[in-house]
Symmetry: C2
């Protein structure tokens, strides 16, 4: 109903400019047209306020300039950062964004495969897909342009890597974090895991183990807690860790949100961070710089990853048969205020008072 309000079509433009409508189409799509006609057409477009009808274009085989983005959910800082990068880049290239949230339900798969078939989108960005096996295969088979972000193959199924990917080097950053903690003298380091299905979470854990081994330390299962990448879970896991007979002097959480839960738990236990407990996170979400104390964490270039995924996808949209690329970004430790040397380990209650007194003195 409201749609026929937009009644100015390519034919109207053609009539107004005194050319055939095919010529108008060519002008719009930047194909070779003589200068004078091009000018006339442009003028007519301006005058009539013509805008292309995407449905028609899509139906006729053209591009919609719409990219689909599939995310597990909204309201997650990590995802939002990547999304921001995607959005920025898309805007630069004049593409629109169609957002699909899966809510981590497997049956959503049908939904977007369907969405593709509809031919509404030119390409698809998959952010941390949970059950990618089924549909990635189909996307590849159809040479449908797509890029997978931050999905590390967790099983050795080689098919999974056959799609273009953008990722971060989780192993390396996590190793850096662990070494930092170890160099500070920590020997009992707790670890709070991430979502088990996620490759990135697993990689971070592998680095935890590896670092301990590198330093000739044995792995104490008590120091390893489950987690879901969520604050509450981080809080509970930290409480469990801290109530151990021989509690850790440092905790490395698989993501920042969990770390913030650890910070909470430390407060509840009246522990001073970093004096009594050192904490390291992973992701470097914006909030990490604003906690108290500010979180020492492993930075991944989230926004950058989103942007890169877009430009990669756009290349595939232009040439779908192009060779499959994998881009990965370095991660690195950002030292802020949640870690301290493990040496001066004293009774925590004591140290609180000491610190306060010292503040009182200096002021």
């Amino acid at each position: 109903m409201s749609k026929q309000a937009t009644n100015v079509t390519i034919k109207d433009v053609a009539k107004c400019a005194g050319v055939s409508y095919a010529t108008v189409s060519r002008v719009i799509n930047g194909q070779s047209v003589s200068e004078d006609k091009k000018a006339r057409v442009m003028q007519a477009i301006d005058k009539l306020g013509y805008v292309v009808n995407m449905s028609a274009r899509s139906l006729a085989g053209g591009n919609t300039h719409i990219v689909g983005v599939l995310v597990p959910n909204l309201g997650n800082e990590y995802i939002n950062q990547v999304l921001q990068g995607i959005d920025e880049a898309l805007r630069e290239y004049n593409y629109d964004l169609m957002l699909y949230t899966t809510q981590q339900r497997e049956d959503k798969e049908a939904r977007y495969v369907q969405a593709l078939s509809r031919g509404m989108i030119d390409g698809l960005l998959l952010l941390v897909p949970f059950h990618p096996e089924a549909y990635l295969k189909s996307l590849r088979a159809r040479h449908f342009p797509h890029v997978v972000i931050d999905q590390v193959v967790i099983d050795q199924n080689e098919h999974a890597s056959a799609s273009p990917t953008v990722a971060a080097r989780n192993r390396q950053g996590a190793l850096e974090a662990m070494r930092y903690l170890l160099e500070l003298g920590h020997r009992r380091i707790g670890f709070i895991k991430g979502l088990a299905q996620l490759g990135s979470a697993h990689e971070r854990f592998l680095s935890y183990e590896q670092a301990l081994q590198d330093y000739g330390l044995s792995i104490d299962e008590d120091l390893i807690q489950e987690g879901h990448f969520e604050q509450r879970q981080g809080f509970l896991a930290a409480q469990a860790l801290l109530s151990l007979p021989n509690p850790p002097t440092a905790i490395f959480a698989a993501n920042d949100v969990s770390s913030i839960g650890v910070l909470q738990a430390a407060r509840h236990a009246d522990l001073r961070v970093p004096k009594d407990l050192s904490i390291v996170g992973f992701d470097d979400i914006p909030r990490a710089a604003h906690t108290y104390p500010a979180l020492t964490t492993v930075h991944q270039p989230l926004v950058e990853m989103g942007r890169t995924a877009v430009s990669l996808l756009l290349r595939y949209i232009e040439r779908p048969e192009q060779a499959v690329q994998h881009i990965s970004f370095d991660t690195h430790l950002i030292v802020r205020d949640t870690c301290a040397s493990a040496n001066n380990k004293t009774d925590s209650r004591q140290s609180v008072v000491e610190e306060v007194v010292s503040i009182a003195k200096t002021s």
Copy 2:
């Protein structure tokens, strides 16, 4: 190119089911078709794995089942909450979401008005639009289904309210917060403003003034600081407030993110919250419950607002000529841990030590 992969059309289904393709279309759209044919068609659809081509449908005059959502930006917790509600509701109704971010730039306007014209979306949700005057008029004129969320008319231009809206009662909640603070005995209450262009921000400020007047207090301009709804700004504003010769005993910030900045500033100034400084925020974003101390704030049902906006919009999509509705939600104070009575006001340095000592004793 990849698109013709989806080659099974309505005609194939028709042939397979032994009916005309018009009949297939009718089955899909739920129009009256005899039971046996309907069954045959359904079976054929299943067998061939047919899915409707949205471009074609849209071109032929049908609905795309896509709703456009216009947000100022991503990565803002407030916006994300509303977005989450929108997304949830949209999924329930089987609609897809097309996301536009304006980055608060006025020239983006052209962009989405254009998007509408393309006929790609059935309706538009406008979240906190900054410069709505120009395009709202056009949307209304075309009877294009749309709903404005949380845009309170800031000037008395009556046109602006002629579009359907979903909003929260900012006045009331802010009043409640101020009364709470006043009842606690606070008489010097600082206020950190929000984005000046936003009606909601202004309303909260009006309540601040009104509450003071109701209690017979004069308004001290020194206690009123500018802000942009952002953490850093909240931090700086709070610092300014706290370094006043006669600093406030409580600060009311126009949103939670600012309040978190205030919390930071309090820490920097070695002030105990709530003992030395009471803080109230606005929005009740998820993070508010996880700060330390947990933030006392005014709750608005953000997710709910998003959901409501969707169901309202869907009604307009069904019947565009329907009477304009305005829905508003109550807001209410959530008391957590950042406010205390103003009576026991002592030297802040002193009180810190006292508290620590008392903790030491009880344990």
